[in-house]
């Protein structure tokens, strides 16, 4: 299952495994550097083990918005290679992951530390090393000097949130630097899915990040559908899109409420919290589960809508829209709230581009990154959802982008419910083609979700790679906190609202 050397694919299209060893590393680096310079995104950078020689294959997936395709580049590397990060900052987190997972050292990487504290994976397919890393034990960045002090938070936080460790180098209330150390939620999902045909695969993917069930399940199903050459019925695609937009609605509304809660603005926090639940209940009407589990299955959807459910959804959506818009209006019309959001946690457009921000955070910094319109998949090929951007890159921008997307999602769902395609064909049987590679991008509510998979000679999944949007964005949060007040961290954090489990896998 050698990766293809150099090929361009549409989103979800497959490529045949290459027999050759790939481009040279120098070419690889040049191609990547030029691509990034031309405005392409590094969607994934990972290593595929190879038994045939002492080393592995380095694979990059470049998303090229201008041509609307994905470029997959592969090259062979030994047990070390010159790091890409100094020239391509977006590779920073990926290279740390590569070093941690496979022990392949990017020489000259400025910050080579574990990101998940996971046991190293064996390249030869044997038992992994027994030397387990201790979570949270690494060389943290330190600012030396008089009056500089360190505040460490977590992994267990005071609120009802996932675990993660944050270290602030502060001077009084001002943060000089924030270092984020994760890995507490590491469950080994990527590995479990990459090891073949477990009956639990779909369920692993659905709980990879519980709030992005639809986004990840869609990416996963599109991987399988690509490999099997199956196309879901238009109706199934439309239902998937409704589910994806409902997921976006629920989370965006919840996030605005949570941001209001963080600044202590009671009305919007209370209303949005409830309305988020109402949107989740709509997903539950679709499939019986508030997070959409069981709805997206390979080849189609697990459930369909009938006439009564359609009109029920329409009716409830109208109520929810009225309530949500009035609650959100409250938020943006209260001066004390705007004073808290404005100018806090800024990420400039150039920085966002450099470190490769995706999704809401990227769009709030002015990047027009949105898989739905750049690499349309499923029903997004027929229904266009406008890209919402804002230029200032602060908490207010991230809130405003969410507000605009909420309005767009309501409109999109309503349009879909007006004209659902009629044909109902059941999900087809999946037979995966052997020796294929596929990359599938979807736009989860947080941002770009990238799944890459390969099949072996028997047509079984032999490699699986997941890149959650949080993987791109955690470093952005660290950058946003520079020179901010430490008491504004919770607000900044909530404005990004990144996934811990999606990152840790």
């Amino acid at each position: 299952m050698n990766p293809p050397i150099l090929c361009s694919l549409r989103n979800g299209e497959t490529a045949v495994c290459s027999q050759e060893s790939g481009v040279s590393f120098e070419q690889f680096r040049t191609l990547l550097g030029k691509g990034i310079e031309a405005g392409h995104r590094l969607s994934a950078l990972f290593v595929v083990p190879d038994d045939s020689f002492d080393g592995a294959r380095l694979v990059a997936v470049l998303a090229r918005p201008m041509s609307g395709d994905l470029q997959m580049i592969g090259c062979a590397v030994g047990s070390s290679y010159p790091a890409l990060t100094p020239g391509i900052p977006a590779a920073h987190w990926f290279e740390r992951e590569i070093f941690e997972q496979w022990g392949i050292r990017p020489e000259g990487h400025p910050w080579l530390k574990p990101i998940r504290f996971q046991p190293p994976r064996s390249r030869s397919g044997g038992r992994p090393s027994l030397l387990l890393p201790t979570v949270g034990v690494t060389e943290f960045f330190r600012v030396e000097g008089e009056d500089v002090h360190e505040v460490a938070v977590g992994p267990v936080h005071a609120g009802v949130i996932e675990p993660g460790h944050f270290r602030f180098q502060c001077h009084g209330e001002t943060v000089y630097h924030l270092e984020i150390s994760l890995g507490y939620q590491h469950r080994g999902i990527e590995r479990a899915v990459g090891e073949g045909n477990s009956p639990r695969m779909r369920h692993y993917i659905e709980t990879l990040a519980g709030d992005s069930t639809i986004g990840h399940a869609t990416a996963y199903c599109r991987v399988l559908e690509g490999l099997a050459g199956v196309r879901p019925s238009p109706r199934a695609e439309a239902v998937r899109m409704i589910a994806a937009e409902l997921e976006r609605l629920a989370n965006h509304i919840g996030d605005l409420g949570a941001m209001a809660g963080d600044v202590g603005f009671l009305p919007a926090a209370s209303y949005c919290g409830r309305i988020r639940g109402d949107v989740l209940n709509l997903t539950a009407e679709l499939c019986g589960n508030r997070f959409g589990r069981g709805l997206i299955v390979p080849g189609g959807t697990g459930f369909d809508l009938d006439q009564t459910l359609e009109s029920e959804l329409k009716r409830r959506l109208d109520d929810i829209e009225a309530d949500a818009l009035s609650a959100i209006e409250q938020l943006f019309e209260t001066p004390s709230v705007l004073a808290r959001f404005d100018g806090v946690g800024e990420v400039s457009e150039s920085l966002a581009r450099q470190i490769g921000l995706v999704g809401v955070a990227g769009r709030a910094s002015g990047l027009p990154c949105d898989v739905r319109s750049e690499f349309p998949y499923g029903f997004y090929q027929f229904v266009h959802v406008p890209v919402c951007t804002w230029g200032t890159g602060d908490c207010l921008a991230r809130a405003l982008v969410r507000r605009m997307e909420i309005q767009q999602s309501f409109a999109a769902i309503r349009a879909l419910l007006q004209s659902l395609p009629a044909d109902r064909s059941p999900p087809a049987v999946m037979t995966l083609a052997p020796r294929r590679w596929v990359a599938s991008l979807t736009e989860g509510w947080r941002g770009e979700i990238c799944h890459v998979a390969a099949t072996d000679d028997e047509g079984q999944l032999a490699f699986y790679k997941v890149v959650d949007p949080s993987f791109h964005n955690w470093f952005g949060l660290a950058c946003a906190m520079r020179d901010q007040l430490i008491s504004d961290f919770p607000l900044c954090n909530k404005s990004f609202n990144l996934s811990y489990c999606g990152h840790d896998l």
């Binding site: 979570v135 009802v160 639990r200 369920h203 709980t207 519980g210 209303y271 009407e285």
Partner: protein, 198 residues
């Protein structure tokens, strides 16, 4: 101030009347507590156990299967493959149990297992502070725990509250299967627990 009141009138009073009143309507496709039996079961058939992705269904030769709801994902594969309809998912949403074994549903299971704890019910009847710790879940538990404090469910009205420090808490709520990396962090706040009068 006027705007706040106007918005409040528009948003209305939202707390559910449950548990005094009826529970809120469940979605039509909701799957609650499974029941086994009621219909005959071909004791040689293993289709349900084979269909279960997580091995929650155990099948002893010659007996009805048992279903461990502690493992069950409620994916509803098993009723789909059962030829006689001996397994079905009801709309009963009360799924809690006070011990691990009670989570397993057998053909003899009747109703819902009791969960009342006498001492807890006297000391913490009107005031219960909980500390939540996530340990390797998928964030859905946290999301739904946060829903409990929203307007509709409002567990604050029963004197239940999530607090910021384990020292302020009367109990722990642990979500997730506990990852290796969370083991130590989880042990630290929990071992400090001590209650004098109970």
């Amino acid at each position: 101030m006027f705007d706040i009141l106007k918005a409040r009138l528009k948003q209305k009073y939202r707390t559910l009347s449950y548990p005094k009143g009826p529970p809120p309507p469940l979605p039509a496709r909701f799957a609650g507590r499974p029941v086994i039996g009621g219909r005959p079961c071909d004791t040689r058939c293993r289709r349900c156990a084979d269909a279960c992705p997580v091995g929650a269904l155990q099948r002893e030769e010659g007996q009805f299967p048992t279903l461990d709801t502690g493992k069950c994902l409620f994916c509803r594969e098993c009723p789909g493959v059962c030829p006689t309809g001996a397994i079905s998912f009801t709309r009963e949403f009360r799924l809690a149990a006070s011990s691990r074994e009670r989570l397993t549903v057998t053909a003899d299971s009747q109703g819902i297992p009791p969960v009342r704890h006498e001492i807890a019910a006297t000391i913490f009847r009107r005031s219960l502070k909980l500390r939540q710790v996530s340990a390797g879940g998928c964030n859905a538990c946290e999301a739904d725990t946060n829903v409990l404090t929203t307007l509709a469910w409002d567990i604050g009205r029963f004197g239940i509250q999530f607090v910021a420090s384990p020292r302020h808490a009367d109990g722990l709520l642990i979500t997730g299967p506990v990852t290796r990396n969370m083991q130590l962090a989880l042990k630290k706040p929990t071992t400090r627990y001590r209650l004098r009068n109970s």
